[in-house]
């Protein structure tokens, strides 16, 4: 059986700089896959390559069995992949409602939209109260919830989250992760990029560790939490 997302030996570079080299990754349908690593390891580049914002120079990206390596970025979401970008990038001067409706831009069916809106409120209840407010008036954590909810509005099979806990007040992080778990429980495959390695590994089924553009470790998330390299490099635990 093939995985929902299969990345084989891709390389990505910008202006002569190699961001990713020979990276392969698989995400099984329904799984939560974490992609962890230090700043600049190439995590964001991998998501951007999947969503078509940058072109892979070599290698292939397959989704649900189809080669999507060269599909233009605006078509990717129609195939069932939603990308919640780093830094949230909500439409600040639009209302929460408009942001969510833009998430469902590819599907104008009013009934689908209502169902998804309810699902988004179930994952992040605060958004219902904020519906008519401009996104710019939300706190950072609320904006992150909005960005994730906006990503779910296209009913994606694969939801890619780039640093959902970055710059968020620590007390809101559990709420964001509760929402992510609720979305995953609903059957959506999640590819989760994080610097917050502990949080990501606890939420994930499998995980990949990137270092300077290469995969250096991969396996079950529960095994990786105990891995001495991971503990030392990311969790600040030094083996004695």
């Amino acid at each position: 059986m093939s995985a929902l997302l299969e990345i084989d030996h891709i390389a990505v570079g910008y202006d002569g700089m190699r961001a990713l080299q020979d990276v392969s990754l698989r995400a099984e349908a329904g799984a939560v896959v974490a992609l962890v690593g230090a700043n600049g390891a190439g995590k964001t580049s991998l998501l951007r390559a999947i969503s078509g914002l940058v072109r892979a120079q070599s290698g292939t990206i397959r989704f649900a069995g189809d080669d999507i390596t060269r599909v233009p970025a605006h078509r990717i979401v129609r195939l069932g992949i939603a990308h919640v970008p780093e830094g949230r990038r909500v439409f600040a001067s639009a209302t929460v409602r408009d942001n969510l409706l833009l998430g469902a831009y590819i599907d104008r069916d009013a009934k689908h939209r209502r169902t998804r809106l309810e699902a988004a409120f179930a994952a992040f209840p605060i958004l219902r109260e904020r519906l008519e407010q401009r996104a710019s008036t939300l706190s950072g954590g609320e904006q992150q919830m909005l960005a994730i909810a906006r990503g779910t509005m296209s009913a994606p099979r694969l939801l890619m989250l780039d640093e959902p806990s970055l710059g968020i007040a620590p007390k809101l992080i559990p709420q964001i992760y509760a929402g992510i778990r609720a979305i995953a429980t609903g059957g959506t495959t999640v590819l989760l990029v994080e610097q917050n390695v502990g949080e990501a590994l606890r939420a994930a089924d499998t995980a990949y560790v990137l270092q300077t553009g290469r995969v250096v470790l991969s396996g079950d998330a529960s095994d990786l939490i105990g891995d001495p390299l991971v503990q030392e490099a990311f969790l600040g635990i030094v083996a004695t």
């Binding site: 605006h74 990717i76 439409f91 001067s93 833009l102 831009y105 296209s154």
Partner: protein
């Protein structure tokens, strides 16, 4: 009492003038808002629209029937200009759009000069030449038709951007084109549409203006200059800002022309512009 009537008279004609400025300015502000391009050839699009309206008038199609035709023609022209030209400029450094659209201005003026000569041409026997008298005020029918037409079209554009699915996509592209792309919005398509709609605004304006203005190769330039002031006053990218700015400019121009002298009518306009730009660089209703 007479001073009061004069004031009311000036107010009415200032507002009506301002509404036409608004229609020209909303096209400019829409294009800027969506794709950060200041289209220096905007006035030349207006000039082309006026020649087109004149051509229609010569074959017996009046301005009101001609208006949708000219607007559609300019919409298509705008999309072609975007696809062949502006899209490539956007791929270059930011200055490319400035020099590129300025080059287009020179090109279109030159072509008009070559094809139509520099003669001032007016529509033969334009309709609405009477005067409307109301409560002691007198305004020409033409300015009333122009003003009402411009107001309806400006309001229509606002409603489109604010309340339709495509308008929402335009706002999304205006704010963050990467995020918009991730929503599945084809940014090139939306840009082309916005550029076409910006041109359609001057298409409609050109048809209306033929009621009371002659056309010549640089006819659009003075309107475009006013439109730049309007857009800067009201806030770049803001449709409501363009309307507010245009009404302000229309009134300042009319009041300046009366109380100072006709030659100095633009002085209060540019003074207001300077004050706003110094105190509130983002414009009256602009963000950032």
């Amino acid at each position: 009492m007479e001073a009061l009537t004069t004031f009311a008279q000036l107010l009415a004609s200032g507002l009506l003038t301002g509404l036409v400025f608004a229609l020209v300015a909303v096209g400019l502000t829409l294009v800027y808002g969506v794709m950060d391009v200041v289209n220096f050839a905007h006035g030349e699009f207006l000039m082309l629209a006026m020649y087109a309206a004149l051509g229609l008038a010569l074959v017996g199609i009046g301005p009101l029937l001609g208006l949708p035709l000219v607007a559609i023609a300019l919409f298509l022209f705008g999309i072609v200009v975007y696809r062949l030209f502006v899209r490539r400029l956007l791929a270059g450094p930011p200055e490319a759009t400035v020099f590129g659209t300025f080059g287009l201005l020179v090109l279109l003026q030159g072509i008009a000069q070559a094809v139509f000569s520099s003669d001032f041409l007016s529509a033969p026997r334009p309709p609405f030449q009477g005067t409307i008298r109301f409560a002691g005020l007198a305004v020409s029918q033409a300015t009333v038709v122009e003003g009402i037409g411009a107001l309806l079209l400006t309001a229509g554009l606002y409603a489109f951007v604010e309340y339709t699915e495509t308008g929402r996509a335009m706002r999304a592209v205006a704010e963050d084109r990467i995020a918009a792309t991730l929503m599945g919005i084809d940014v090139q398509r939306i840009n082309g549409l916005a550029f076409g709609m910006g041109a359609a605004c001057v298409g409609a304006a050109g048809a209306l203006l033929m009621l009371s203005y002659p056309v010549y190769p640089t006819a659009g330039a003075s309107f475009a200059l006013t439109a730049f002031v309007v857009v800067a006053l009201g806030g770049f990218g803001s449709i409501q800002g363009a309307l507010v700015g245009a009404l302000l400019v229309g009134m300042l121009e009319v009041f300046g022309g009366y109380y100072l002298s006709p030659e100095l009518k633009m002085v209060p306009v540019f003074l207001a512009y300077l004050v706003v730009v110094l105190l509130r660089p983002q414009g009256l209703l602009g963000r950032r």
